[in-house]
Symmetry: none
Subunit: 215 residues, 2 copies
Amino acid sequence: MEKKQLTDRQEKILSFIQQFQQESGYPPTLREIGKHFGISSTFGVKRHLDALVKKGYLNILGNASRGISINKDELFNPEPINISEKESNKIPIIGRVAAGSPILAEENIEGSVLIDQTFLKKSDNYFALKVKGDSMIDAGIFDGDLVIVSPQVYANNGDIIVARISDEVTVKIYEFKNQVVKLIPQNKDYKPIVVENKEEFSIVGKVTGVLRWLN
Amino acid sequence: MEKKQLTDRQEKILSFIQQFQQESGYPPTLREIGKHFGISSTFGVKRHLDALVKKGYLNILGNASRGISINKDELFNPEPINISEKESNKIPIIGRVAAGSPILAEENIEGSVLIDQTFLKKSDNYFALKVKGDSMIDAGIFDGDLVIVSPQVYANNGDIIVARISDEVTVKIYEFKNQVVKLIPQNKDYKPIVVENKEEFSIVGKVTGVLRWLN
DNA sequence: AAAAATAGTGTTCATTTGTTCACCACAAAT
DNA sequence: ATTTGTGGTGAACAAATGAACACTATTTTT
């Protein structure tokens, strides 16, 4: 599909919105945009946004404050020639998790791996975890595989998650039914783990990718 | 810092905010949260949010609409680190292979993916192939996975290879015994392929990696 | 030369939205 | 017995915010 050309101003505004969103966690208001560019009237700003919507770069929810969302498909790099930093992302690899330490404590970090930017949502602070054991082989996750994890504290039934039980970190399928959390392995030889003590259980993140290297 | 325990309600609300944010591109308002949970008063919602702030899960910008941002935690890494070209390698992704054409003909190239340099030997002309079918699921290679292939014309018994039979490209395990080449799938529902016509068979390369993305 | 797109100011208005208060109810801890 | 934390209703209010209009000016396209 043809991408419509943006004016200089529009491009700067789009890029500001993107940055604001990333740094704040929410989109800017018309006035916040205006202030940054020295545009005193909200109307002036709004017309820029309307133009960006028309050209397919933004979606705007009417009458809602900060109701701006960036169209990620369209936002794709306009000039995709060089493999610059923007296309790639280095994420830390977690090896053994020391008892009681935060997952990403320095002592746990074993290295880092480069993941193609197209796989990563910008907002997330992904990390990679080296899988130990074969409890997930039926889900195609083998011993030694690297799973790419998007940190989040909740999960939906059926998600492959990384969970923490006391000081153990494990990869399983999440199920919450009848007020009971179960961690379901994907291997006939293993039985589901029923979480008894909610105090000692927490969801670390969701598995969004698997990377395996042979030899 | 130890994370404080969330109540059931608080956890669900945190969940909702995170999901809303991810789907909409901006955080919900108090009323939107309330509506979803059947809480008619914004005050009821606000107190949940205040509790989540107090426990360190959220940040709230006062007097700003949708001014909610989720705390990416001290546990979780601050920022993904951008890296330079030298550490990375871009390899082409092969989609459908047109009949009779060389694998790496331009018409077959569907895109490209960055792979961490540490996985790649400099000399090789790696490419990636999108797997179709489930004949290798027992080897942890699923439909839609991307296999990273190092081009080579020889293989050892047991290697996972990409082979070409007439105009079909397939991923299988290689076996050469008693002057007969067999391509062995890793799925009980499939039978080994015995190569009858050596003229039409060739080894394209060896699978050195598997990359899968979920969602 | 005329039309269209871009870029902006200032003002007004209607909604959206966060904040606060008084009050109720229940369970767990002190 | 009393406090504390949780979970809620309903109303009232002020601030934040998007939408709209009239008017100006410059650049680009037709």
